[in-house]
Structures are given as structure tokens and as C-alpha cells.
């Protein structure tokens, strides 16, 4: 069974993110465990491309499709910030403040150019997302 699947109505942004996660798992199979054993809903809203997608952690895999109702986490930012998030090194599952890229992300969060709704209530889900997403 495929770990990461897309629904037929997945927007192009969702296809791109699914491809990114698949490639990251392929190049580092240890990341496969990140999609297991957790249930949760994440929406990513790329404001400048007017695209919102949903990631559903089913417990045995990840399904990427259109935005989900009542997400546990919602990431809101522009497309450039999304690329920066994918390029940031992590420390304890969060952008590493010791790197310029990590500091840039944290600054954007302070200025609300990057908003993550639900990060306080679902920190583990956010960590999984970041680890699956990053290419750094």
C-alpha cells in the first residue's frame, strides 16, 4: 500500500507537496514512520497562489487532497515562505534558530507572515509535518 496518496481532486499544490513528501521518504526511508501511528488533519493555505490543501494522517498513511474541515493544524503563508519552510534545518523538530534560514522563519512567525493555527495544541503533528516536508 502506498504511504502517501492523493485524491483525484487534489489541487496542483497538493500534488507538489505529496511528491515532495514521497521523494523525501524515498531518499530517507527512516521518515516513513512519521506517517504511521498518528491521526490528524492539516491544512496548508498558500495565500498568494490562492490554493488551500489538506493533509490527512490516517494512522497508516498520508492522504493529500483539498482543504479539510476542522483541521487540527492550519499553516497560512505565501508560496515563498512555504519554500523556505521546506529548506529549513530542524532542531528538535522546529526551525533551527542557529541558522539564518531558521531565524528568517521565526521572524516571519513573529510578524504573522507565517501563521500556524493549532501549533500549541498539536505540537507533535507539527513536528511530523516539518520532518516530512524539509529537504534541508
Amino acid at each position: 500500500m502506498e504511504l502517501v496518496v492523493t485524491t483525484p481532486d487534489t489541487p496542483p499544490l497538493g500534488q507538489m507537496i505529496a511528491d515532495l513528501v514521497r521523494s523525501n521518504i524515498e531518499s530517507d526511508p527512516r521518515r516513513a514512520h512519521l506517517v504511521h501511528g498518528v491521526a490528524g488533519r492539516i491544512n496548508i493555505n498558500a495565500t498568494d497562489v490562492e490554493s488551500e490543501i489538506g493533509l490527512l494522517f490516517t494512522g497508516t498513511g498520508l492522504r493529500v487532497g483539498p482543504a479539510l474541515p476542522a483541521p487540527d493544524l492550519e499553516v497560512v503563508c505565501d508560496s515563498g515562505t512555504l519554500m523556505e519552510l521546506a529548506n529549513v534545518r530542524l532542531r528538535l523538530g522546529r526551525p533551527d534558530p542557529m541558522t539564518p534560514e531558521g531565524r528568517a522563519i521565526l521572524t516571519k512567525m513573529m510578524h504573522k507572515q507565517l501563521v500556524v493555527h493549532g501549533m500549541m495544541t498539536h505540537p507533535k503533528l507539527l513536528t511530523r509535518l516539518q520532518k516530512l516536508f524539509t529537504v534541508a
Binding site: 489541487p11 496542483p12 499544490l13 500534488q15 507538489m16 511528491d19 515532495l20 521523494s23 523525501n24 531518499s27 498558500a46 498568494d48 497562489v49 490554493s51 508560496s79 515563498g80 512555504l82 519554500m83 521546506a86 529548506n87 529537504v135 534541508a136
Partner: protein, 140 residues
């Protein structure tokens, strides 16, 4: 002024890539070739798909070929394709290529994490394309 798409345009583009400090810095460790596909739009004077192959290596363009056969172009590590008029928008800087990919306006074939890692280099390649003095084939 070179017409896009043409060999003359590509030659100018390659010269500008090789003269760009910004690109050299952003792509200093990049290794891999790339095909651009300008998809046919007969009503815009592009009757057939045009394949362009460029060999990029450590911040320089080592070689480039215009009008390569599809079988040859498909061997490239990365392929970026879109209809001719989309490329026009990219060259005119009306469409950001990464946004275009997120919107499905440009299609990428190849290892996405690599493109994401080199997003600055990709943007520089587009900036350079935008700085080639260009006359578009459907406007000539």
C-alpha cells in the same frame, strides 16, 4: 533582437547565464541537465513543441541545444514544460515559476527536493531569461 523561441535567443540566454554572478553563487553545487519544453500553440506561431536542452554545472552552462528531439530531451534530469504563452508570462516576469508550479501552470518532471533546495538558482535562471532582449514569435 532575438526571437523567442529560437537558437539566437538561446545563445543570448546562455551567455547571460555564464556572466551571472548571482546564478553562479546560487547554483555553485548544482550538477544536472534540464530540458525546457515550450508546448505548441499553433495560433501563436508555435506549431510544434520546442525542446531546449541545457547542461548546467556548478553555476555555469556548459552546453545548450535548441530544438532537440523529444527522445533526447526526455533524458534530461529535469524537464519543465508549459504552453508557449505561459513561458511568455514567465519571461516577462508576470508569472513566478515556483508559483506557476504550485498552480499547475508549469509542470516539473524530476526530483522535486532538488529543485526546492536550489529554488534561488531556479529563480535566477528565470530572472536571466527575463533580461534577454526578446521579441516573441507571435508578436513579430
Amino acid at each position: 533582437m532575438p526571437v523567442f523561441p529560437s537558437q539566437e535567443w538561446l545563445t543570448e540566454y546562455v551567455d547571460l547565464i555564464n556572466g551571472s554572478k548571482e546564478y553562479e553563487e546560487a547554483a555553485s553545487s548544482w550538477e544536472g541537465d534540464l530540458s525546457y519544453v515550450f508546448e505548441r500553440e499553433p495560433d501563436k506561431k508555435v506549431p510544434d513543441d520546442v525542446w531546449v536542452w541545457i547542461d548546467l554545472w556548478h553555476g555555469k552552462c556548459r552546453d545548450a541545444k535548441f530544438g532537440v528531439a523529444q527522445e533526447e530531451g526526455e533524458k534530461a534530469r529535469f524537464i519543465i514544460r508549459a504552453p508557449y504563452s505561459r513561458w511568455k508570462e514567465v519571461i516577462r516576469k508576470e508569472l513566478d515559476p515556483i508559483k506557476g508550479m504550485m498552480q499547475g501552470k508549469l509542470k516539473l518532471k524530476g526530483d522535486l527536493p532538488t529543485i526546492v533546495r536550489y529554488v534561488k538558482a531556479a529563480n535566477e535562471l528565470v530572472n536571466i531569461a527575463g533580461s534577454v532582449p526578446t521579441k516573441f514569435v507571435d508578436e513579430s
